[in-house]
Point group: C2
Chain length 118, copies 2
Amino acid sequence: MVHHMENRGASLDTAFHALADPTRRAVIHRLMTGPKAVKELAEPFDMGLPAFLKHLRVLEDSGLIATGKSGRVRTCSIRPQRLLEVETWLSEQRALWRAGADRLAAYVENQMTEDDDA
Amino acid sequence: MVHHMENRGASLDTAFHALADPTRRAVIHRLMTGPKAVKELAEPFDMGLPAFLKHLRVLEDSGLIATGKSGRVRTCSIRPQRLLEVETWLSEQRALWRAGADRLAAYVENQMTEDDDA
């Protein structure tokens, strides 16, 4: 159980780290509409190919994207599962927040009813 | 407009960076059920107070939490707005993904209908 939690934690670490950069978020954004060749993917970015490939490597290591080679063309595609894990963590936190807000609302309502009774 | 986008980008950078650490995610998790004093917040973590305060500083700088002092007690609370910005970015990407999946489904259905006609 702890081991599973640590694995999940490590993958969240690398996923959040990968998303903490505007170029890498832009790559994710562009891949959301379908797989793209590295060359096409790199085009809009004002940086050298080595720097761009470094960003792709961070994304690939984080599990957010996959790359594959077909002949001489390397193609990148999104791995939605890892992005879903990030979203799941965030929505779990929001659920805690909501539960607290609901408890507060119930408490306030309860107090108001008691005030009515008094 | 571009300026606005850049601001949003910068705040996403720092928010994702802040979330890329298990201690900081655990702090967020604990604050979701309500504000807590720094001392109480630090208790479960096996690290010195200076290291812990450094994590709080990263969270505060990212806008994910706020800290306030009441007498000698410093209290931390969540700032749900920043977390919502992170969730919004993720759900925007997912919407693109869904739109692509819907287009694919429509294309396949269209192809099947054409096959029926043939």
